[in-house]
C-alpha cells in the first residue's frame, strides 16, 4: 500500500499544473472586461472614490502582479477574500454553498445510478430485442435532454399544475435543521427533526430527479455496453456451465466485472455531473455553487470565481483519485 501513497502523491502533483493553467486562463480573461467596484456602484459614487476603492482591493496593480500575488497566496492555501460586498473569505462563501451542491449531486447521482444500472442490465440481457432498443433510445434521449427544459417541465407539472412540490429553494421557512453536515436531509435525520426532513425531501425531489434522469442515460449506455461485453466472456460461460442461476451469473459475475469500466467512466463523467448541477441549480434556484458562480461572474468578483474554479478542479481531481482507489479495491489485479 505504500506504492498507493506514492501514486496518490503523484496524481495530486499532476493536478497542480492543471489548476495553474485553468487559473491563468480564467484570471486573464476575467480582467479583460469590467471590475467589481464599478459593477456594484454603477455610476453612483464619484469617480475618485471608485478609484480609491479599487486601490484598496489592489485592482489597480498591473495584472501580472495581481496574478503572482494571487498564486502566492494560493500556494499558502489562501483563496483570498471576495471583492464585493462584505469581502468575506472565499473559503466561507464556498463553504456556505457547497453542501447544497453536494446534497443535490449525491441524490441525483444515486437516482441516475439506480435507473442507469437497472435499465442497462435489462438492455444487455435482452440484446437486440425490444427492451434493448427501448433502453438504448432512452440512453440517447436522456443524454440530449436540456436540463433547464426538463426542469421547467417538471416545475410546470408538479409545481404549478399539480401543486405537489415546491419549484425552488432548499427548505421551508424556519425549517432549517441544526447544521451538522450542511446536508439538510442528513441533518434532519441526525437531529430527528421530522418537519425539516419532509420539507427538505420535498424541495430535493424535482432538482435531483431532473439531474438524475439526465445523467442516468449515460449509465444505461455504459452498463449495457460493458455488461454485454462481460457476458461474452468465458468465465460467464463457465459459471453457467457450473449450474449457477442466471441471477447469480448476471449480478455476481457479470455486473461486478462490468462495474470496473463503469466506475472508471464515472470518474470521467464526474465533470458532467458538476455541469449538470450548475444548470439544475440555476433552474431551481438551488443555493449552491452554480448559483454562486453565476451571481459572482455578473459582479466580476474575480477572487470568488477563481476560488470556485480552483475548488471545482480540486473536486474533479479528488473524485478521480477516489475512483482509482475504489478501482484498486474492487479489482484485485490492480495494485499501485
Amino acid at each position: 500500500m505504500a506504492s498507493l501513497k506514492v501514486y496518490i502523491v503523484r496524481r495530486v502533483l499532476l493536478a497542480i499544473p492543471m489548476i495553474f493553467i485553468l487559473l491563468s486562463i480564467v484570471f486573464l480573461i476575467m480582467r479583460v472586461a469590467g471590475d467589481p467596484v464599478s459593477a456594484i456602484l454603477g455610476g453612483h459614487a464619484p469617480q475618485e472614490q471608485i478609484e480609491q476603492i479599487k486601490q484598496q482591493l489592489g485592482l489597480n496593480k498591473p495584472i501580472i502582479f495581481q496574478f503572482f500575488g494571487y498564486i502566492g497566496q494560493l500556494l499558502r492555501g489562501n483563496l483570498g477574500r471576495s471583492l464585493i460586498w462584505g469581502q468575506r473569505p472565499v473559503v466561507n462563501e464556498i463553504w456556505d454553498h457547497f453542501p447544497a451542491t453536494l446534497e443535490l449531486s449525491i441524490s441525483a447521482f444515486l437516482i441516475s445510478i439506480i435507473i442507469g444500472i437497472f435499465t442497462g442490465t435489462v438492455a444487455a440481457t435482452h440484446r437486440n430485442r425490444f427492451l434493448d432498443h427501448t433502453f438504448r433510445l432512452y440512453g440517447i434521449i436522456t443524454y440530449g435532454l436540456f436540463i433547464p427544459w426538463i426542469g421547467i417541465m417538471l416545475q410546470l407539472l408538479f409545481g404549478v399544475y399539480l401543486g405537489l412540490l415546491p419549484i425552488g429553494g432548499r427548505i421551508g421557512t424556519l425549517m432549517e435543521p441544526k447544521s451538522i453536515t450542511g446536508l439538510y436531509v442528513l441533518d434532519s435525520l441526525l437531529t430527528l427533526n421530522f418537519d425539516s426532513l419532509v420539507s427538505a425531501i420535498k424541495h430535493l425531489i424535482l432538482p435531483s430527479v431532473t439531474l438524475g434522469v439526465y445523467l442516468s442515460g449515460i449509465y444505461t449506455r455504459l452498463t449495457r455496453t460493458h455488461l454485454m461485453e462481460t457476458l461474452e466472456k468465458d468465465f460467464i460461460k463457465a459459471a453457467r456451465a457450473r449450474g449457477l442461476s442466471e441471477r447469480a451469473v448476471i449480478y455476481k459475475h457479470g455486473l461486478k466485472n462490468a462495474f470496473i469500466p463503469i466506475l472508471t467512466m464515472m470518474g470521467l463523467q464526474f465533470a458532467l455531473l458538476l455541469v449538470g448541477a450548475v444548470l439544475t441549480e440555476i433552474t431551481f434556484s438551488w443555493p449552491g455553487m452554480g448559483t454562486l458562480l453565476f451571481e459572482r461572474i455578473t459582479y466580476r468578483d474575480f477572487t470568488t470565481v477563481q476560488g470556485i474554479i480552483v475548488f471545482f478542479a480540486l473536486i474533479v481531481v479528488t473524485v478521480n483519485l477516489l475512483v482509482d482507489i475504489i478501482y484498486a479495491y474492487i479489482d484485485p489485479r490492480i495494485r499501485y
Partner: protein, 322 residues
C-alpha cells in the same frame, strides 16, 4: 451396459444475418459410463458447439433445432432452464479452453469452488470450504493458495482450478474443450496425466474435444472425428489409428508429424473446409476428397457400421458391404 449419453440426429444452427450456419448437422453418437471419447476435428467443424449443446449452453443466436440428447435416458433438449441448471456442474461439467478467461478475475479461487458447491448442495460455508480445500489438494494446488486470485496463478495452475471446479460435484460426464491447448507441452502432459488419474478415481465419462489428434490418442478410448458439422468416423481409438477408414481421417493423420515415423512425408489437405451456410449437397468432404465419385456429389453418404463399434460416413465402405 446402458449408454450414459446418446445423441440422435442433433442439429444445431446459428441464425446469423448472413444466413443459417449449420454448425452441427445431424450428429448421432453414444457413449458409456466411464468412457472417454475424443472429439476431433478442425476448428469450425462444430465440435465445440456439440460440446456446449450437451449442456444446452449454445450461445445465441445458436439454437438446437432438431434431434435428441439423451443423458441418463432423459432428453435434455426438452428440459427447462431450471432443471438444466441442476444437471450443469453436477452431472455434466465442463473444463474450458482458456484458463485465463474462464475464471472470474474478481473472485478468489476458493470462492469459485464454494459457490459451485453451494449452488448444488445444501452445505454451510464452512463445509464448502473444507470440500474446496480437499478438491484443490486433489488437483495439486497447495491449500494456502486458496485465497489467491486467478491472476496470481500460472496457466497450468489455473487449469488445475478449472478441473477442480469441474469435478467438484463428482459429475458423470466431463466435457473438456481444448482444455490444454493454451498450455505449453510439458504442462500439457502434466495436466493430461492428472486428468487420467482423476477420471479413473472418479469413474467419469469424458468427452475430450481437441483438434490435436496426437493428444487425443493419449487419453481417448474412442475417437469421433468431425468434419463440417458431422461425425464422419466413430471408432475405438486403437482401431482408428490402425485403420482410419475415412478419406478425411487418412488425410488428417498424414498431416500430423509423427515422432515415430519421422521420415514420413508430411502432407496437407488441399482445399478449404466447406461453407456451413450452403454446404455441398452430397458428401461434405467431396470437394477435397481424392476418391470422390459422381455419387458423392449427388447423395449424402450414411454413417455405416463397418464392424462392431466402428462407423464411417463414406460410400466407399457402403460399396464394400454391398
Amino acid at each position: 451396459m446402458e449408454a450414459l449419453l446418446r445423441i440422435k440426429n442433433l442439429k444445431v444452427y446459428y441464425y446469423l444475418r448472413e444466413g443459417v450456419v449449420k454448425a452441427v448437422d445431424g450428429v448421432n453418437f453414444s457413449m458409456r459410463k466411464g468412457e472417454t471419447v475424443g472429439l476431433v476435428g478442425e476448428s469450425g467443424s462444430g465440435k465445440s458447439t456439440l460440446g456446449l449443446s450437451i449442456l444446452k449452453l449454445v450461445p445465441s443466436p445458436g439454437k438446437i433445432v432438431d434431434g435428441q440428447i439423451l443423458f441418463d435416458s432423459k432428453d435434455i433438449t426438452k428440459l427447462d432452464n431450471k432443471k438444466m441448471r441442476m444437471i450443469r456442474g453436477k452431472q455434466v461439467s465442463m473444463v474450458f479452453q482458456d484458463p485465463m478467461t474462464s475464471l472470474n478475475p474478481l473472485m478468489r479461487i476458493e470462492d469459485h469452488l464454494t459457490e459451485t458447491i453451494k449452488t448444488h448442495q445444501k452445505v454451510t460455508q464452512e463445509e464448502a470450504k473444507e470440500k474446496a480445500a480437499l478438491l484443490l489438494g486433489e488437483v495439486g494446488i497447495p491449500p494456502e493458495r486458496a485465497k489467491d486470485y486467478p491472476h496470481q496463478f500460472s496457466g497450468g495452475m489455473r487449469q488445475r482450478v478449472g478441473i477442480a471446479l469441474a469435478i467438484a460435484l463428482n459429475p458423470d460426464l466431463l466435457i473438456a474443450d481444448e482444455f490444454t491447448s493454451s498450455l505449453d507441452v510439458i504442462v500439457q502432459f502434466q495436466i493430461l496425466n492428472l486428468m487420467k488419474k482423476l477420471k479413473a478415481s472418479y469413474n467419469m465419462g469424458m468427452i475430450f474435444i481437441s483438434h490435436d489428434i496426437s493428444l487425443v490418442s493419449e487419453i481417448a478410448d474412442k475417437i469421433a472425428l468431425m468434419y463440417a458439422g458431422q461425425i464422419v468416423e466413430f471408432a475405438p481409438a486403437d482401431a482408428f489409428f490402425e485403420e482410419h477408414l475415412h478419406p478425411y481421417s487418412e488425410a488428417l493423420l498424414n498431416s500430423v508429424p509423427n515422432v515415430q515415423l519421422s521420415d514420413q512425408k508430411l502432407s496437407y489437405i488441399p482445399g478449404m473446409p466447406p461453407d456451413l451456410v450452403n454446404p455441398p449437397k452430397g458428401c461434405r468432404f467431396y470437394p477435397r476428397c481424392p476418391y470422390a465419385k459422381d455419387l458423392c456429389r449427388e447423395k449424402e453418404p450414411p454413417l455405416i457400421e463397418v464392424k462392431p463399434d466402428y462407423m464411417v460416413k463414406c460410400f466407399r465402405y457402403d460399396e464394400k458391404r454391398s
